[in-house]
Every structure is written in C-alpha cells, then in structure tokens.
C-alpha cells in the first residue's frame, strides 16, 4: 500500500533483557535540527548514546573546490546560520591575510559591532529554544522579542535577516545605514531593562535550577581532551577565548572579561552564556560612539588569487572556535578547504557526559551544548 523504508542492516547489538534501544530523531522537536541519537536505556537510565550524523550533509567542502575566493563566503553563512557574520569574518580575514590586503579602521569597527550583535542574537535564540525543551514556553517569546530588534537593525544595514553576505575581503560591502547608531543604542537600552526579566523568570526558578545543577558534568581534562571550545569549555574552567588569545580586528583595543566558571555542569554553561551577553553589550557600548570616518572597503583586485601555500584563521563564534584552513595552489579556486566547526568536537563529548543519567537530564545537557547540526555535518 505505501512504501516503507526497509531495514538494510541492523547495527545494534542485542543486549541483556530489559534493555531498550530507542531512536531520538532525526525529526524531533528538541534536537535543534536533524540529529539522530540511538539511545540504549535500562529503565530510565541511559547506558550508551550513539549519534548518527549526515542527515544534512551538503558536501560543502567538495563544492567549495570549484568556487572562487569571493564566492565561497556565502556558503559559510549557511553552515552555522546563527553566527553568520562571524563565519564570514573568518573567511574574509583569511583572504586578507593571504593576499596582504589592508582593511580600513571604519570597516574593522563595523565588523566587530556586527559580530557582537550576532553573538547576542544567537544566545537569545539558544535561551528561548533551551527553555522550550525543558517545558517553559514563555521565555521563547521574550527571547524573540529582542532578537527581532537585532534582525531589524541587520535588515536596514545588510539587506537580509538571517544569511547576510555583507562582510567581504577588504572590509564591508556597503556603508552602514544612517540610523544604525541610534537603533543600536535603543536596543542596548531595552536589553538592559529586560535582562532582569530573564533573571527572574529562568535563572532564579527553582525548577530550572534543580533540573540543571549537577547535570551533565564535564571535567576540565575531559573538555580539553575532547576538543571542546566556547562556552562548553569555559564552563569547565578552560580559558580558550580566541578574542583574547589571538585577537583580530579591533578586539585588542576593547576591554571585556572572559567569563569562566568551574562547575562544569549545565547550570554553569547557562550562566556563562548569560554573562557573555552582558560582556558583548559592554563591547558594543565602547565602540558605537567612536566609529571613525573613512572608507568602508580596502583596495582589492577584481580577481582574487591566493599565493601558493597554506593558511589558517581562527575566530570565536557563539558556539566555540571556528577555523578555516585553505591549501592553495596559486589559482582562483582553493585546492582544499577544511572548516573546523565547533559543534563537531562538542558533540563528541555528549555520550561521555550523559552516560549514567536519566533521559530527562539528556534534554538539559543537549540544550546547554547549543548544537547547530548543519555546522556539524557541513
């Protein structure tokens, strides 16, 4: 009657009596994308988790071998779509490093302000989605209220709401909208008033705290060994912020703190992200009034060709350390591109973190890992 998919090969081993193997996903409201987890349960306790990836593998690395150095930047917007400006900055910085292009200061200031706004928007969406996974529907709407203000600012300046190809090698594509500064200041004012709402509603909520404290603990040695970066590693005590270790653009001129917690559980990861939003506001406040006048893009040739050699650029996205590695033979297209995505390494720590806990705790752990699956599968 209807075509069912057939089982070609069953790869799970048979376990003892009482063990249950269930599938979470690929279509699931809480996996934030298409992630397939095969969970082996004993009652309600998790014995083993195995992630199956590849349900959104779009063969980006093979495709980029036939795109020129101006064209491959749009693809990175669609990999980790919640930090699209930051991914574009990584690619632009790499091409500038390889071809020795000067970036004017005005463009550097604009880039940093847009990066920090993107970071806040990504953390807002994470907050809404994580609270919804745990059963609280209200923070979702509050988070989107702030996020819509940011996407309005992006739409005025860059032309698009989600995947904006605004940052190009040499600077930015067009000058900022005349009302950019007033709108950003209005947003900062509203954010500071409303962030206390999140504190009251979510952080000080006794149910939320008992669901996330002590859940999904990741020790410091494990975080380094699994290659975790970003808020996941900073909540376990590892200091790994690329904006401090290898600063790019004007990050060496602004003052901000690197937020580190030592508990390593889900509540620590939550607090790191909330405090990071406040630090991003601090960075924007220092820069928004002093954007220098000048050009918004440096002089570049029409056809870009990277010299023969290898280049690597690291940036700090909202999820962790993103790296672009290009091996070039001197032509107009790269010989090999590799994108080091933060979610890939963070996901490999999931089965270590969640073994032995209950299935309800798995939702809290996965929510605080903040995975974006197209970033993992590329």
């Amino acid at each position: 009657m209807y075509n069912q998919t057939e089982v070609i090969k069953d790869t799970t081993e048979l376990g003892p009596e009482g063990e249950l193997v269930i599938n979470m996903g690929p279509q699931h409201p809480a996996t934030h994308g298409v992630l397939h987890l095969v969970v082996t349960l004993n009652g309600e306790t998790i014995k083993k988790i195995e992630p199956h990836l590849g349900y959104i593998h779009r063969s980006i690395e093979k495709m980029c071998e036939s795109l020129t150095y101006r064209q491959f930047i749009y693809v990175t917007s669609r990999m980790d779509y919640l930090s699209s400006h930051i991914n574009n900055t990584a690619c632009a910085l790499l091409v500038e490093k390889g071809m020795q292009i000067e970036v004017p200061e005005r463009a550097q200031y604009i880039r940093v302000i847009l990066n920090e706004l993107t970071r806040i928007a990504s953390h807002e969406l994470w907050l809404g989605a994580m609270a919804m996974d745990l059963g609280a529907f209200t923070p979702f709407f509050y988070a989107f209220r702030e996020r819509e203000m940011i996407t309005d600012i992006m739409e005025d300046t860059c032309g698009a709401r989600l995947t904006m190809n605004y940052i190009v090698p040499g600077g930015v594509m067009y000058d900022i909208h005349p009302e950019f500064q007033t709108k950003v200041k209005a947003f900062i004012k509203q954010f500071k008033e409303k962030v206390t709402e999140y504190e009251d509603l979510v952080t000080n909520n006794i149910i939320f705290q008992s669901r996330t404290k002590g859940v999904g603990v990741l020790s410091r040695e494990d975080a380094i060994s699994f290659g975790c970066t970003g808020p996941v590693a900073r909540a376990s005590g590892v200091s790994c912020d690329i904006r401090k270790i290898a600063p790019y653009d004007v990050y060496n001129k602004v003052e901000f703190d690197e937020v580190i917690e030592t508990a390593g559980d889900s509540f620590a990861r939550y607090m790191v992200r909330i405090k990071e939003m406040n630090q991003s506001i601090r960075i924007i406040e220092q820069l928004i009034d002093s954007i220098p006048e000048g050009e918004f893009v440096g002089k570049t040739k029409n056809v870009l060709k990277l010299p023969k050699g290898e280049f690597y650029q690291r940036v700090e996205t909202a999820r962790g350390e993103f790296g672009v590695y290009i091996v070039s033979e001197g032509g107009t297209t790269p010989h090999r591109i590799k994108f080091r995505s933060p979610g890939f390494s963070n996901l490999s720590a999931l089965s270590h973190m969640a073994e032995g806990s209950k299935i309800g705790d798995l939702m809290a752990t996965m929510g605080t890992l903040d995975l974006v699956i197209p970033d993992i599968d590329r």
Partner: protein, 150 residues
C-alpha cells in the same frame, strides 16, 4: 618554547623530520610510522600539547598528506605536524588514545579519503550513508548521477 628548542627535541625523537617555517606556524613533516611514539611524547612535558584542534587530509594526486594542528592551553604555542601517505595503501596509527577528539575526526577522514587508522576503537562511516561507494573528497571521485558540473 622557541623554534630551535622544538626542532632539537623533535629531531632527537623522530630523526627523519623536515621543518618548514615559511607559514604562520612551524610545520613538521614526519614519517607515518613514527607518529605513534611522537604523539605520546608531545602531549607530556616539555611541550604539553594537550589540544588537537584540527585533523584533516589533503589529496595531492600522487600521495596523501595527513595534517594535525596542535596547541597548548598552558604554554600557548601552536604546531603543525604532517605525514605523507602512500595513495595505494594509506595507513597511519590512530591518536584517539592520546586526544579523544580524534575519534570523530578520524572517522570522518576515513570515510572521505579512505585512510585506515590502525587500532581505532570504532572505525566506520559517520556522515555518509552506510552503502556509499567511493571516497568523495579524493580528486578522482566521479559521480555522474548526482554531481551537476557548472
């Protein structure tokens, strides 16, 4: 640690190393057979390279090259280690017992390039379908049905 100290130390452990300082970081090319011993040494004193942040492979049509990017969270220096492999029988020792992040990265390189990692705990396909034929990221991969060339 300066580049000279690094070069001296590595040459004493892996005599066939070749150094290349033209890029941003020091590149070291070693033989594939020496990698297992060298990996265990670099993680401890005096380098303390405890963070492997990128593991990939490049296809040069005549041979394959494995590339490992390492850094240290304590001393804050970076190192790039490469190993050339034979294209007919590419094999190298796994480092997932030293840095656990290599488990997933090596599975991905296995399915994309066809490199066998010796002593890997669980080497099978991660991202592609289970019955996918061929190694997609190699330069001689042809797929006339799916790939539409511009």
């Amino acid at each position: 640690m300066t580049n000279e100290e690094i070069k001296e130390y590595i040459s004493s452990h892996a005599p066939s190393a070749i150094y290349d300082e033209t890029g941003e970081w020091l590149n070291i090319t070693i033989e594939a057979t020496e990698w297992k011993k060298l990996a265990a040494t670099i993680k401890e004193e005096p380098f303390q390279m405890d963070f492997l942040f990128c593991l990939t492979c490049i296809d040069w049509k005549t041979h394959l090259t494995m590339v490992y990017h390492l850094t240290s969270t304590i001393l804050r220096h970076q190192l790039v280690i490469k190993a050339n492999l034979n294209i007919d029988l590419p094999e190298i020792n796994t480092v997932s017992n030293v840095w656990r992040t290599a488990e997933f990265h090596e599975r991905e390189v296995f399915e994309m390039f066809g490199i066998q990692f010796l002593n890997h705990p669980d080497l099978r396909k991660l991202i592609l379908e289970d019955d996918f034929k061929g190694y997609p990221l190699r330069k001689d991969f042809e797929d006339p049905i799916n790939m539409i060339k511009l």
